[in-house]
């Protein structure tokens, strides 16, 4: 009884720790590792944006829904800003703009000529007769340089160039009302984001409109939810099938418990160790932790399948297998990728604990278990070693000659996301998700100065039609009066020119004194600092893509409809503006993934060498170690080559899954190659048949899941197990020759 009560008590303690302290993490940077630096540079500030489209043929219906949903969202905890239409600029913001107009939009020499000021005054007088004149007041008259008028024009530009009806933004195909939402600046949580999306959908349904949502966090939440649901369902189905399969084989609750307990102990201990080591447990580590089923379940099955008489030898082989595979996975530490380092630690710890606890928990039992008579499938392979070496070389050739560019993304959004993006593209101009320009500066002034240098290039691209439009802080704000070429007119000189401009318009010349005082005050206004960007909601919107970094300031310039990105990229590069780079995000991510894959493959290669060394030392028989290693390598490479031929270059998760295959191969090899040193052929084959059956049940169900990552891992391991069995069943001598 103590065999179960002590492990159960330890398990309870571990589970308590897990429920209280363990924090699952899902950040992308932990997956891409050092190669993500560039990716994070371009994936910065705007991940909290969300666009909602409310579709209805009836404008009144959709506008009503948009106003109601925007009003409700404005008070929602998860939302920091919402806009369903143009909003009035606050008087405090307009006062700030007025005082700092020369910092925001400094006049150039032409604006200070008498002729220009006279024209501006005429325009200002006419503006007063219009409905909008009452809103702007007398400031257009008091600033004959046109600086303030220019800012007012910029502020009047609608987001994404949308039109509005009854104060609500409308899609350009006139089918939907559009609501722009900025989510609160807090860590991303799948559950609360999913909940928010469901609430929005429910509200839209109440108003009888169809709703679509687009935003990085919404898509991330959908991916997480879909993956989590598919994984949970696959785990549930696999557990049921495994329980039925093992209950039928083991015919005893005690044996069943002793089979599952080491696995659960291994997973729980690994979770706690990773949490203590890294401060959190990444979902990738947890996901591959589930893959422990493929090996950790084997250890008790080996012990139960072999006779009590050979228990010691079986335990030794189990331990060698566990340590060998753990060494292979520990090599993931060398990848430098936090999520994969966690995976390495997780699997290694889990296997070690499962192997040791199996030894303690599994009872010595001579009951003959039911098992498929796998030994009947053993077959003769002449020149086995040479054939395996040939398969190895041919497989490596196939893998190496796969096209390098066909890199798979780590996670795939649900199928309908592409349709939603396409629908949104019909409704409103979306910033390019592929081409962006980043501008960096050690301070805000440096950032704005570099954007001022970039601006003529972008304006030229817009003018020649190779770029739809662009959005950046530097389009609204200039680097400061000191950095502009405008001459600083003295007070008396400005007064003289203003007086003349007033006379030309038939206005009282004495008003020039007021204009001059305002001009001098604007010249003396303080520089715009970081605090100004956060002082007004209006500025927060304008500076939405600006972020502070460890080394200074950065803005991701949004490009709308770049028709000739290569040409623009060359123009930006030719300008050689320090801190300004144009990126093709897709290429960057592909390069990061290729780098990641190569590093993982390289370190797993080192791990395989270490595993072989441990195997040879553990067995004390290097010839046998070479035989096992060659068979395992040939089967693994054959699997990898088959997958490459069928689906292109292997992804990172498939490569990690292949490491599991290596572990499984060593495990099978240890038991099937040990003729004469332990039980009968029947016991050895029975043992491997039980393990392979269990692994195939778990991973073939995973291969049927609806999510690509699960399909790939499931298919890789399932195929790998079958190939491994085939190679291990191949005997260099005729079947029965070593039978006892």
């Amino acid at each position: 009884m103590i065999r179960f009560t002590v492990p159960a008590a330890i398990l309870c303690a571990l589970l308590t720790f897990i429920f209280v302290y363990v924090e699952p993490a899902s950040d992308a940077e932990a997956i891409l590792g050092p190669a993500a630096l560039d990716a994070s540079k371009i994936e910065s500030a705007n991940d909290r944006q969300l666009i909602i489209s409310l579709v209805s043929e009836k404008r009144e219906t959709r506008n009503k829904a948009a106003r109601a949903i925007a009003g409700w969202l404005a008070t929602h905890d998860l939302v920091s800003g919402v806009q369903s239409g143009p909003e009035a600029l606050s008087s405090s913001f307009m006062d700030w703009v007025w005082k700092r107009r020369f910092r925001l939009n400094p006049p150039v020499d032409d604006n200070l000529s008498v002729e220009s000021m006279s024209d501006r005054l005429a325009q200002a007088r006419r503006a007063l007769t219009q409905g909008s004149g009452m809103l702007i007041g007398d400031r257009l008259l008091r600033d004959p340089t046109g600086s303030f008028a220019g800012i007012v024009d910029r502020l009047g530009e609608t987001p994404s160039g949308l039109t509005q009806i009854d104060g609500v933004w409308q899609s350009r195909d006139d089918t939907a009302a559009i609501v722009f939402v900025t989510l609160d600046d807090r860590p991303f949580e799948t559950a609360e984001t999913t909940d928010l999306a469901q609430q929005i959908r429910a509200r839209a349904t109440e108003f009888d409109v169809e709703s679509y949502m687009l935003g990085p966090r919404i898509i991330a939440a959908e991916i997480s939810k879909q993956t989590s649901q598919a994984a949970s369902f696959a785990a549930l189905v696999a557990t049921v099938f495994l329980l039925v399969w093992l209950a039928w084989l083991l015919r005893s609750g005690r044996r069943l418990l002793s089979t599952f307990l080491p696995l659960i102990l291994g997973i729980a201990t690994a979770t706690v160790v990773v949490q203590l080591g890294f401060g959190s447990v990444h979902v990738v580590a947890l996901g591959f932790g589930g893959a422990l089923v493929g090996l950790a379940l084997d250890y008790p099955l080996h012990l139960l399948s072999h006779s009590a008489e050979n228990r010691r030898q079986t335990e030794r082989l189990v331990l060698i297998g566990a340590i060998t595979t753990a060494a292979g996975f520990l090599a993931l530490f060398g990848s430098g990728v936090p999520a994969l380092m966690q995976t390495g630690l997780f699997v290694s710890t889990g296997l070690a604990v499962a192997a040791i606890s199996s030894r303690l928990i599994v009872p010595r039992d001579d009951t003959v278990l039911r098992a498929p008579p796998m030994e009947r499938l053993a077959w003769h392979m002449p020149f086995k070693g040479w054939v395996e070496a040939g398969v190895l070389i041919a497989g490596i050739t196939v893998i190496a000659s796969a096209p390098a560019g066909s890199v798979k993304t780590l996670f795939e959004p649900p199928g309908h996301v592409d349709a939603v993006i396409a629908r949104f593209a019909e409704m409103l101009p979306l910033p390019s998700g592929q081409h962006v320009i980043t501008v960096e500066g050690e301070n805000l002034s440096a950032l704005l100065a570099r954007e001022a240098a970039l601006r003529p290039i972008l304006d030229a691209a817009v003018a020649e039609g190779s770029l739809g439009r662009y959005s950046m802080l530097g389009a609204f704000m200039s680097p400061g009066a000191d950095a502009t070429p405008a001459q600083r007119l003295s007070g008396p000189e400005f007064n003289r020119r203003a007086t003349e401009a007033l006379r030309e318009n038939g206005m009282v010349p004495g008003f020039a004194a007021t204009q001059t005082a305002d001009y001098l005050a604007a010249l003396a206004a303080p520089e715009i600092g970081p605090g100004d960007l956060a002082a007004f909601p209006e500025m927060k919107l304008i500076a939405a893509n600006v972020s502070q970094t460890e080394t200074g300031w950065r803005e991701r310039v949004q490009l709308f409809d770049p028709k000739e990105p290569r040409k623009l990229s060359i123009a930006v590069a030719s300008a050689k503006i320090a801190g300004v780079d144009m990126f093709d995000i897709r290429q960057k991510i592909e390069a990061a993934l290729i780098d990641l894959r190569n590093r993982v493959a390289k370190w797993l290669g080192f791990g395989a060498i270490a595993a072989f060394a441990i195997l040879a030392i553990g067995l004390g028989d290097w010839r046998r170690a070479v035989r096992i290693a060659l068979t395992t390598a040939a089967a693994t490479v054959f699997t990898a080559a088959t997958l490459t031929l069928a689906g292109g270059t292997l992804g990172v998760f498939q490569i990690v899954a292949l490491t599991l295959i290596v572990g499984i191969g060593i495990d099978y090899g240890l038991f099937l190659s040990g003729a004469g040193e332990q039980d009968t052929d029947h016991a050895r084959y029975r043992s491997v048949a039980l393990c392979a059956g269990s692994t195939l049940i778990a991973f073939s169900i995973m291969a049927l899941a609806s999510v690509r990552i699960l399909q790939e891992v499931g298919l890789t391991v399932s195929l790998g197990v079958i190939v491994m069995i085939c190679f291990n069943l191949a005997q260099p001598i005729r079947r029965g020759a070593d039978a006892q």
């Binding site: 007769t129 219009q130 909008s132 318009n505």
Partner: protein, 138 residues
């Protein structure tokens, strides 16, 4: 400071209750003043050119008052503000305080003589004054 810019046109209440200002000169334009937005429609070579302006909250009471006056029926809006009525031989002046409690933030001055409204003036806390003088009034 100069010859005033004179416009001509008329106000009316639209079917949806909005205040509509029709301007004939110097430019032809129709301004619809709603609860939250001002819609300006001008004739242009490209056809109708409608611009929308959100009404800042500081100016909302002014337009609300103007709408109440033109409607004749919506006097509750005016009565809701603290007010002061002065009159002399030149006419009357009704001052409404539309600012927050007790602080004269925004003052709206309505001036007239007899039953003729002559001007509407907004006095902002920053010292700005915006005044509409109606045609025919002095």
């Amino acid at each position: 400071m100069a010859d005033p810019v004179v416009t001509s046109g008329w106000f009316e209440i639209g079917t949806d209750g909005d205040l509509v200002r029709h301007q004939r000169t110097p430019d032809s334009a129709v301004t619809r003043i709603g609860e939250k937005f001002i819609f300006v429609r001008r004739d242009s070579e490209d056809g109708d050119n409608t611009t929308i302006f959100p009404i800042p909250k500081e100016l909302a009471p002014l337009f609300s008052s103007l709408r109440s006056i033109v409607r004749h029926t919506d006097r509750k809006t005016l009565a809701a503000y603290p007010h002061e009525l002065q009159s002399d031989t030149t006419g009357w002046k009704l001052s409404l305080n539309t600012g927050s409690t007790g602080v004269p933030d925004n003052l709206i001055h309505l001036r007239g003589c007899g039953d003729v409204l002559q001007s509407v003036e907004l006095q902002m806390p920053n010292g700005e004054r915006r005044r509409i003088v109606f045609a025919g009034a002095s």
